[in-house]
Subunit: 458 residues, 2 copies
Amino acid sequence: MDAILSYFKEHESRFLEELKQYLRIPSVSALSAHQSDMHACAKWTADSLRAAGMENVEVIETAGHPIVYADWLHAEGKPTILVYGHYDVQPAEPLDLWKSEPFEPEIRDGKIYARGATDDKGQLFIHAKVVEAWLHTYGKLPVNVKFCIEGEEEITSPNLPAFLEANKEKLSCDIVLISDGPMIADGQPSIEYGLRGVAGLEIHVQAANGDLHSGLFGGGVPNAIHALTDLLSSLHSADGSIAVEGFYEGIEPLSDEERHNFSMQPVDENQVKESLGLKALYGEEGYSFVERTTARPTLEITSVTGGFQGEGIKPIVPCQASAKIACRLVPPQKPDDILDKVERHIHEHCPTGVTVSVKKVLRGNPYMTPIDHPAVRAASDAYEKAYGKPAIYVRGGGSIPIVESFSRLLEASVVLMGFGLPGENLHAPNENFDLGNFAKGLETTSYYLQNVAELELK
Amino acid sequence: MDAILSYFKEHESRFLEELKQYLRIPSVSALSAHQSDMHACAKWTADSLRAAGMENVEVIETAGHPIVYADWLHAEGKPTILVYGHYDVQPAEPLDLWKSEPFEPEIRDGKIYARGATDDKGQLFIHAKVVEAWLHTYGKLPVNVKFCIEGEEEITSPNLPAFLEANKEKLSCDIVLISDGPMIADGQPSIEYGLRGVAGLEIHVQAANGDLHSGLFGGGVPNAIHALTDLLSSLHSADGSIAVEGFYEGIEPLSDEERHNFSMQPVDENQVKESLGLKALYGEEGYSFVERTTARPTLEITSVTGGFQGEGIKPIVPCQASAKIACRLVPPQKPDDILDKVERHIHEHCPTGVTVSVKKVLRGNPYMTPIDHPAVRAASDAYEKAYGKPAIYVRGGGSIPIVESFSRLLEASVVLMGFGLPGENLHAPNENFDLGNFAKGLETTSYYLQNVAELELK
């Protein structure tokens, strides 16, 4: 490993120059004006992997922007890691808020500023340089490695799932390794081993066949908004838990180890409260803010509307009202099952005189790799070797559908090793990436390849 | 009285020709293009009253359309009746749905079709012809009579309250007589002796200082829509009554006589339900549909909004939600007191973590003349003499602020004697007025003047 670390030192300034080249390509996937930049960026990515020593490098056309594939598969009997990342970036606007040009990288205070610096070119580039170091130093990698780099992550990856489905064999692997997010705090590495799923539905309440004059009918007919608010109010219990029968079915209680890990996260609930301008936080009794927002399922009403929406009060008994609900799910909850249960609750609690209908519109599976999975433990150990302290195990409260797709379609464990930091302005002006973490990322990933080589995953 | 009835018969065709003239004037108060028609119509009204024998006839300018005043005050020691009505009409559009021209009256099947036929020129004209009959036959009226005819009723009478306030002496009276609505059914006269008041407010719930990503914050922070729906749901009890403390304070139980009267109304609850497309009617337990919609107070949510209003589900924890509420009030409820009580309820039930604010925006007093008031009994008797059956006593569920203004500012009893019918298309194409009721109206009103002359109201 010393030779690898020396290689990184020796080539440090070249790496930086190459990263600057990469960041100069304005590969904005959302804007058609950047069509040729997208192809140039895919080609740059492919050339870089080829120069690193990767084989079978391809730029594969899709219905949208191309996908870059590469592999090196000569570590016989060893596990296979698939590195996923993306070469596309968010639009740079508003331009006037940038201190330096978004596509002309500048280094200030040990950080490189440019669109795409942390999301995701800078982090993705780490993996390219790690395989280069191994292949140029030893002529081989300790494990089998594949790259699958897309150009549509910032526009919700419309073509990736079909690509995975169609190329299961080509992409088959044991571990999907993704560096596309922040660690939990500066100097504190973290591993995201779970993500919540999502289930969404719309509720529509119909009372009379038209809005009615409240002077003539008020008090004597069902009011669609009354009915809807009663329905919505019935979805939670007084203790903040969700009152839908069977909603929590099958969810394992949080283990002592998990709760200990959560408590290690540097989250100050008072500070959260104050920064959001809230009088109090709120949620399911018996759980901390971190647990509520990452490890417990939720049911949030995201929208409600009914009655006269103009200025002033129009004295009607409204005939229609509707709401939208988004649930966040944790394993083993399944979106379809949860949607069925919420729908049943709504029909069973339907107030007198009105008709209620439900439209199920959003589904995403939750994802979790057990924290005691060897691929996860190996990541924690790699972080500890590079950073001098163990990684904190965290769960993400959001949903990254592509992670679940990788896991399900390739039947692989996904390991999310982020080298970014909170506050690096991803999707915002003055995006940047800490060069200290770039260097530590090279080390950590090298240790990870070495650690995985020791695992018996087959 | 025989001489009066003969006068009506003798002059029947002239009355009809005059009414047609009146209806030909397109006195649409809402449209500035009809400015000169408004003045022409006020002048026509004044000329008609002058020809009838009324004195001190004036066309009085206001900030809007003029008011017509007239009086005859020589019945010394007798009560004074102030007739209120309006010469303005609703716009006639959509014109293509009229069978005959809206401002070219046509008689079909015993009904006169024209804009303003029943609302209110046809009904108002009855009173002009009654005083004419008395003054031309006997040279005097059995009571003192004043007319106050406005031209802005269809645009919410913006200048009338100030006019009443400034002319209390001139308009002083014992009874305000208004014929500007329907009787309850063909052949079944009715007297509206009460109207509900109104109180309106807006509720705004604020949670965090911005919408939050439901993946990052969902489950751990207050949701403005949850808080609002819990609040709104708390306003009613399971039995359909209003759960605001003190809301019903001071309201007298319905008397057996009132409930009997309500039960006489030709309202078929099944038919109401079916015509509105409802599975069931709904309201406060222990009351009929008629009672709920006319004699009991209500609290209706008229509008609700919160969260992302675009297409699809945006997975946020919304920071804002708001609703509008309109209450209908019965005596002795006062709008300000009710608004205070609802506001107190809202603050006392404010869910954890959010801030709630209330804006009071709408106030109108309820109005009621006791059904045993002599001016009301006299009206019932007059109806019975003309129609051969007693009037049903009804209460109106809506609010006509001008009725309450008359009652309060002039300290007079208001008697609502309608000669229109349901289904005469007021405010709609093919407005009409039944000529049978025009004739019965002349009779009824004549009897009413005679009956009131017998009363000791001073």
